[in-house]
Amino acid sequence: MSKKTAKAETVRGPLDGQPETENRPASKQEAAESGAQAAADFADSEEFTYAIADRTVAFVLDESLYKKDAVFGTAYLFIEKCYVYLTQPEDGQIGVRLRTRGEADQPALEEMAGEFVNELLNQMIRHSVGESTMRIREYYMARAFFATDTQTTIDDLLAELDDEELEEAPLEIAVPWEESDA
């Protein structure tokens, strides 16, 4: 199985001392340059390493970065597309092996690995949003199912209607037409 490394390209924006930043205050510009440098360092240092063999691409994920639930969510989607086998090479790691159902060349295998990691990030975001909005969802569910305030309000309204003396209405709007004719 051959080993490949895909390195992210370093994308440098206008924060690298381009004319757009010349008029910024020094502190903001320094901060922006520092951020851009950090991003560039990250892009230079972070590598996605995978191994490719016949119809197979394999890589290892760090469990401190990718939650197991997110890996499961991604794997569940890929079970439809290919054969998925998970291992645990070391504590805190999840090994992923994807094998195509039919013949596949190297670019196709690389693309499949990339798709898996992209979907993994998508699942991570879903998980994160789900966690951050969990309490508000629970609150609304609890209000919808268990609140008694609504019932009390309806009871109050009905009681209020009962108390009204509709017969004394000058226009007799509340009196049925059969009775008013009679």
Partner: protein, 79 residues
């Protein structure tokens, strides 16, 4: 030559691996050994028609069943 697959219990539900062995049992000769935190499945004498796909399909089946079981467990009484 027999194929061996290791299913670690942190990723695969041992009950679901056992269920997969039962589901695929008529297509090959399976042996299941429960080890320390993992299940070792050895597959041999695979029927000729399924030789190319059985091992991978078995692993897929065990994974899907384990994920479903994991989600049910996480959902608790809601499901």
């Amino acid at each position: 030559m027999p194929n061996s697959l290791v299913f670690v219990h942190s990723l695969y539900d041992p009950a679901e691996v056992k269920g997969a062995v039962e589901a695929f049992g008529h297509l090959a000769n399976f042996s299941l050994e429960e080890g320390d935190g993992e299940s070792l499945v050895t597959i041999d004498e695979i029927q000729k028609d399924y030789k190319d796909i059985l091992v991978d399909s078995f692993a897929n089946y065990a994974l899907e069943a384990s994920i479903v079981a994991n989600r049910k467990e996480a959902a608790g009484d809601l499901l």
